[in-house]
Symmetry: C2
Subunit: 195 residues, 2 copies
């Protein structure tokens, strides 16, 4: 076979999340036909990221330093610690401009079906971090999915057992929604949590 | 910023076709968190493919050799030349087991809206290849999309002007379909081409 390098590329692209064999082929053909520069840039970026990125010793997000820039920021309020599933969730909270405390990034969520337990998302590390004597409130901002709720519940139990104040992001009707189009479970929660 | 390598990776992933900023983030986090081996393998595969893959001198598909394995195969019938848009289309024809001739891979299609003309898809190279004195029939197997049809039309004109016999894949009702669910234009074509 004189197409081994192409097949190896398609196989490697298939390992990306959400990429099947058709997308992988399309990506490989595109890169080879129209964007060889982009392919080489991606190769370099992959190597750099793998070799440079590690986890922040305080919040566990990805960083090139010992401690990430958010944890290092003296303007942040160390009394609040917001627990999120991923750096993307953290970025969404940052964009909202509604939070000035620190973060803890789980890099996952409890998922019994996939065999992911509390230990796999660093629950011990979170308990240690939250018990630094400065944190007063832990805000659980995991997703409002089945797995996010399970994660919030398990972490809440463990954190409360250490005497910490634990809160959860409010559930309710999203901004800009017409009630008619909001799902019933959301309306029921919004009604129950009305204020 | 202590996250520059991560941002460079997300930017590089966004250049892949069909990948937006959210997918690129998800891919980057997945690779760094769960599959650093996969990331390094992809980096190597990208470099290898870019440096090794070139175009077959006869059919223009991707190959590591001067001439690809299909064009080199002596069991192939050199009197038939099938014109396809991409190596993926060629692979689909091969899987069907219905064709034993040779191929010419355009690596694209005419698309006036994107400024892609006949010259960009190697029409000259096709005319040269089809005029080798062995080819008797050119089968146009470009897609049955607007752009695929425009491409087939333009190539058909040019090939016929050289005195070559030009055919097109049949249009009709797909195998396994119930007529009720087939679109009207397909039914109309199937009726017109009935046999």
């Amino acid at each position: 076979m004189a197409e081994r390098a192409l097949e190896a590329l398609i196989d490697a692209l298939r390992r990306l999340p959400g990429v099947g064999v058709k997308s992988a082929q399309r990506m490989a053909f595109h890169l080879l036909q129209h964007d060889r520069d982009g392919a080489l840039r991606l190769a370099t970026a992959l190597g750099d990221a793998v070799h440079r990125m590690r986890h922040c010793q305080r919040c566990h997000t990805f960083t090139e330093a010992e401690v990430c820039s958010t944890c290092e920021d003296p303007r942040r309020d160390g009394r609040q610690l917001c627990v999120v599933e991923t750096p993307a969730d953290q970025a969404a909270l940052e964009r909202s401009g509604s939070y000035k405390g620190l973060y803890f990034v789980l890099m996952g969520r409890i998922s019994p079906l996939d065999g992911v337990g509390a230990a796999d998302i660093g629950a011990e590390r979170l308990l240690e971090r939250a018990g630094d004597g400065v944190v007063e409130e832990v805000i659980l901002a995991t997703g409002f999915t089945a797995e996010g709720e399970v994660t919030a519940h398990a972490l809440s139990q463990a954190l409360k057992a250490r005497g910490l104040r634990v809160t959860r992001l409010a559930r309710g009707v999203p901004a800009g929604s017409e009630l008619e189009y909001v799902d019933l479970s959301t309306i029921a929660h919004a009604m129950g949590d009305r204020r």
